[in-house]
């Protein structure tokens, strides 16, 4: 067990426990924010694990999660828009914290990798992760104004 895996363990243990607690209780808006937080916690952890196991090919996992995690949140934001309109979740503090953690992890892993093709993949993952996270948070706050059908 090295420092990378230790960091991933702590991030996963704390972040996902919080996300589970949020997603399983409370009003819908809180559950949605917690669901969005899942991506922001799991994706940096996958990057840390890839580095900890010395397997650059595991970065594909983080890339895929950075792409599809926000899509999952958009699904809920879109299909629960009429319920969300009643109570809009506001958690910009959490969103920016998550973005900061993601950026720190990406920078650390990039520094350990050194300039190469693998680093480009890491940077793409980071951009997709942070961008997706911000857009998903925006979508939760009235990103979809529901009309009949749609």
């Amino acid at each position: 067990m090295n420092a990378w895996i230790l960091a991933a363990t702590i991030l996963l243990g704390a972040g996902l426990t919080a996300a589970l607690w949020g997603v399983a209780s409370g009003p819908l808006s809180r559950r949605m924010v917690a669901q969005n937080l899942t991506t922001a916690v799991a994706c940096p952890s996958l990057l840390l694990l890839a580095q900890g196991y010395h397997r650059p090919s595991y970065v594909d996992l983080a890339l895929l999660l950075a792409l599809l995690g926000p899509v999952g949140t958009l699904v809920f934001a879109r299909l629960l828009a009429d319920e969300l309109a009643v109570a809009t979740p506001a958690a910009w503090g959490l969103t920016w914290t998550a973005a900061g953690v993601s950026a720190a992890v990406v920078v650390a892993v990039c520094a350990a990798t050194g300039p190469s093709r693998a680093m480009v993949k890491l940077l793409v993952t980071g951009v997709l992760l942070i961008g997706g996270n911000l857009v998903a948070s925006r979508a939760l706050q009235g990103g979809f104004r529901q009309v009949r059908g749609g």
Partner: protein, 246 residues
Amino acid sequence: MSRRLRLAVLAVGGTGLAALLVLACLDLPSFGGRWHPYGEAAVRASLDRHTANTVAFVNFDLRAHDTLGEMSILFAAVVGCVVLLRQARDEHREPPQPSDVAPPVRRYALLVLPVALVVGLYVVAHGQLSPGGGFQGGVVAATALHLLYLGADYRALERVRPIGTYEVTDALGTCAYLVVGLAGVLAGTAFLANTLLPYGTFNTLSSGGTVPLLNAAIGMEVTSAVVVLLARFLDQAVEIEEEQGS
């Protein structure tokens, strides 16, 4: 059966099942043990045939028959969904009104859509080298297409998604898998035997004999299967209305 009686039966059965399962677990080889004869044999065979990703090798060479079975289940499930969710006589279509999407969300969806498609294709194409393959990449590519529904609206998705074509592609993917298998028979070996093509250079895109071909066939099938499935569900959820008072 009353609710309380059913819970009592469940409690008795569940306790028995739990006891049996725990007993079975105590007899399993211990977690993390060093004894994996099948795994070691599979890794040796994979290296012999120049396939870098052993898991893809097991799926599309050693156990290609099993994958054929899985693929038929997938195909049958899609056919079942298409039959169950078709438009009935007492239903009519009502085109939904376009949804009002916030501009940043729309821009994000349109920007990420091509990226996700490319990543899906990458995952399929590198299936025999790095983690990934037809099953995973197919789902990613198909899900990516539905960003159009999430980010723009349903009409935009319908324009770029001719369902008939995807249904044909689904069948073609299934046929392609069978054809590659039969080619082995015609070449004088066995059904789905990986002896048809040269094994190529280790860790390049063309390595592994028929593994990349079968992988591509599965990718094609899974992509179109998921698109057809989601199309049927979207039709039902968004467009098809029941006649009043039926």
